[in-house]
Symmetry: C2
């Protein structure tokens, strides 16, 4: 990895934290470039043309190539480290939790945090407002599934921290900001502390 | 891969097709076990306890281990084949499209197909009905983003078919069943034909 690596990000985004945390644990130096997503800085014609046609951060730039999608960027940075299991099934199982995070967890737990803390629940569109209850139920179901798994395992895959834990950490840690009650999920809380105790852990402020 | 491999599936699901297609292209024999998702066969206590606590198919069973999430199963089966690029960045870029598929494409394009063909647009809950327009707009945005990429590239990553193409094929091919007009996306249509021309391609009936 000799090319300069630049993280195009919005620091308060948990998806962006995942990449900073992975880079730190993997010992990869990255530059950071901040965008204000609320002011639309990732929807400008220049951003869409050069960084990400999907208009979203994070994007990891490696030389002149651009890699959107937080979990894909984590895999790129984590390749060759113990953050990715060496066993084929375990590696796929790590990806399983990362895909699950983006499908079942982030659209519920992270979206309610954003709607609550950035937009305001009183300012949602009618379509958004109509989804709040469903997203709260789906978010609680995701946290309950994590709790069940973590009651029997210290880490999501194998015997040490992997990218699956990194991917699931930030929005779980901040779930309270979206109105979720982490007190209901004791195994999740113990796991959050376990992740925070990993040598080289980067706090998600 | 000496352990028996069983695909727990619902054959009409595009997510399940991805795994069958990958297994065929990778030359891996799999057994198939069918569940009727409409009748709740993936929400039984037995299924939740043994196959997938998340109550969803597909799940790939390898010996006594269970791997949910279609795209993770494809990575497991495709490991070591040309369906996964050898270059680190290209491999991460393949995962980028697969994560994008599950976040931006499937919840819109596949969900509208399911709501239209399985539930019926007249039978949706009010919360679902309130999301139809937003999902149609987001699905069209996803198809437009694919079209823009495919106007300049034959495949999503590199110079040949990868798991990114496999992941994006089924719900794109059936987008019309959800009311999307593929005629608006000529580069997508050319790419669908290109995927169907891959030696060993398994039709999605």
């Amino acid at each position: 990895m000799s090319a300069a690596i630049i993280l195009h990000e919005y620091a308060a985004s948990g998806n962006c934290w995942k990449i900073r945390a992975t880079a730190a644990l993997a010992g990869v130096a990255i530059e950071r470039r901040e965008y204000d997503i609320v002011r639309g800085e990732t929807r400008t014609p220049e951003f869409l043309a050069t960084v990400n046609a999907n208009g979203r951060i994070p994007v990891l730039q490696v030389g002149d190539r651009f890699l959107p999608e937080s979990n894909a960027a984590c895999v790129y940075l984590g390749e060759g480290t113990d953050l990715i299991p060496h066993d084929n099934f375990d590696r796929a199982d790590m990806l399983r939790w990362m895909f699950w995070e983006q499908y079942n967890h982030e659209p519920n737990v992270a979206t309610l945090r954003f709607w609550t803390g950035w937009i305001g629940l009183d300012s949602l569109t009618p379509v958004q407002a109509g989804q709040v209850d469903a997203k709260r139920a789906a978010g609680d179901a995701a946290l309950a599934l994590m709790d069940e798994h973590l009651a029997r395992h210290d880490w999501f895959v194998g015997d040490s921290v992997t990218l699956a834990d990194i991917a699931l950490y930030p929005y779980t840690a901040k779930a309270g900001e979206g109105g979720f009650e982490l007190a209901r999920y004791p195994a999740v809380r113990a796991w959050l502390a376990r992740v925070e105790g990993v040598a080289g852990f980067v706090p998600f402020a």
